[in-house]
Amino acid sequence: MDKVADKSEVQSSHPDPAFELLGLGIGLRNCHFDHILAEWPEVDWFEAISENFMDSGGRPRWVLDQIAERYPVVLHGVSMSIGSTDPLDMAYLAKLKKLADDVSARWVSDHLCWTGILGLNSHDLLPMMLTEEALDHVVERVRQAQDVLERPLVLENPSSYVQFQKSTISEPDFLRALCDATGCRLLLDVNNVYVTCFNAGTSTSDYMKAFPFDRVVQMHLAGHQHCGTHIVDTHDSPVCDDVWQLFRTAWQKTGGAAVLLEWDGDVPEFERVHAEVLRAQAYIDDIAPLPEQMVPQRRKTTTSTPVDFLVPNVMNDSRIQIP
């Protein structure tokens, strides 16, 4: 079959008309603000980190408002802590809802994880013990969050470095049951699948076979660091070949999910990041991909969930007036 016809057929069969086919997007990072405002580059859409903007009364929020006037924006959060046994933070959810309305967010996503307990925040995407108890708990909280947000929540599979002895449900089955019970949708991060499966010594193809692709509205691509004995999800490099292959298979099964590249550590210039996500088109069209461009130097420390995008450098514009 003709590839182009094949693609349009796949796209038109996207099962979820409430979610737009956004195309190939980029994670919005502060270091690219000036470039975007000056060039208005041809990018399909942007994903903004919710927490960087929901309290912002400074330039970051002003920039996001400009961008939201010209591009579709999706909000991606890291602190909803949907899996925590602390009460849901209703003030946080109310601010998130306001931001989502203000920027006409196409959808709002976060992770299947917990970030803290007892009022404390680790600022990490901590792994869930996947049990019936946890499923009931998360189902209830997703319903609460969706009631406040007045839109379906989109949840992402996180990268994991541990597996719980007492987990009784696989991550794909857990996510499927969660979607069935709440109507939430999924953000499938194929790099996270790769990282989690490598670290656990499990099979990515088993994971993919079990995954509820019909619920996926968005995918993430990212680079990682291979440390020999384990892989850390660092978002500081190009996407590796194995992850591209996972992407190729997965994207077809989603029937046209929006695609987003995350690049958070050692972020190169905008055009380099954009070029990396555009490589996805070749895998979508199933033609030979472009060769990988020059790979930048890697950062010294191997930290999961890099902080650069959590606390962008907002401190550039300061001066002292000499009397």
């Binding site: 330039r59 708990h137 384990h230 300061s318």
Partner: protein
């Protein structure tokens, strides 16, 4: 503490404390909680989270306190940061709040806190003031501001002017604003001698500017802030310095009024939210 029982809340409390205080976790509870990874034992798998936790938050504090980092040096800063994060773990959904208690924590935990104030080390005072200033700046960068709304002109009468709501007035025992901007300019300033520094910090057009002030001007701005009126503050200043109101008014008009309006110290009363 162990993770036995398997309930979600128990295991989360156990894991959170394993991140904040890695030394207090016993090996048995780790192997009871986690399976070994493909090539790492359970403790090493947990270790990835433990290492990332402290490194991530340390990097975040370094970003929020670049001049304090420069002044202390990386090793000492990291010692301080680690201890601060152990005693004051993040309690907010946003990392912007991570440094909120840092200066106060330094004050409470200063190594010479048991000595008489006059016997204490001045360098500790400097670090505390520097961290306080950096926090003020960091907060002001992203705080609600007046951008996008009209600014007054020098023709705007005094009774229509109020101080910019986000304007910060602060006093320090060291020239911390100078030190901070030297560091940000890539220089290596020496540890400064103590000298009182009075400042106003203002954000206009997303540019944050620190204005060193004379004691008289600092007092005047403090009065405007407290009284909500330039006229009332001028009267108070005249009384305080024992000069005529006309003298103080003409000094206000001749010396600072235009400069302060242009710099964004004031907005029109009717333009506030």
């Amino acid at each position: 503490m162990t993770a036995d029982g398997g309930s979600l809340s128990k295991v989360q409390r156990w894991m959170m404390s394993a991140l904040i205080a890695p030394g207090r976790v016993d090996g048995e509870s780790v192997t009871e909680t986690f399976l070994p990874g493909a090539q790492l034992d359970a403790a090493s798998c947990l270790g990835i989270y433990q290492r990332s936790y402290i490194i991530r938050l340390r990097i975040c504090l370094m970003g929020q306190f670049p001049a304090t980092l420069h002044a202390l040096g990386e090793d000492l800063f990291c010692d301080f940061a680690d201890e601060y994060l152990r005693t004051c773990p993040s309690d907010s959904y946003t990392l912007y709040e991570l440094g909120r208690r840092f200066a106060a924590w330094m004050e409470e935990n200063r190594p010479d806190r048991d000595l008489h104030p006059e016997e204490r080390e001045p360098w500790v005072d400097f670090m505390i003031d520097l961290a306080t200033y950096e926090r003020m700046l960091f907060h002001l960068f992203d705080a609600p501001g007046h951008e996008g709304k009209p600014w007054p002109s020098i023709q705007t009468p005094d009774n229509e002017l109020i101080l910019l709501p986000g304007l910060v007035l602060a006093q320090f025992r060291f020239p911390v604003a100078w030190y901070y901007h030297e560091v940000r300019a890539g220089k290596s300033p020496l540890y400064p001698a103590p000298v009182q520094q009075l400042v106003a910090i203002v954000r206009k057009d997303f540019q944050t500017t620190t204005f060193p002030l004379s004691p008289f001007h600092f007092r005047f701005l403090t009065s405007i802030q407290r009284l909500g009126s330039i006229d009332a503050a001028l009267e108070e200043m005249a009384l305080w310095c024992g000069r005529s109101l006309a003298d103080v008014q003409s000094s206000w008009i001749a010396d600072v009024r235009q400069g302060w309006i242009t710099a964004g110290f004031f907005i029109r009363r009717n333009d506030q939210d």
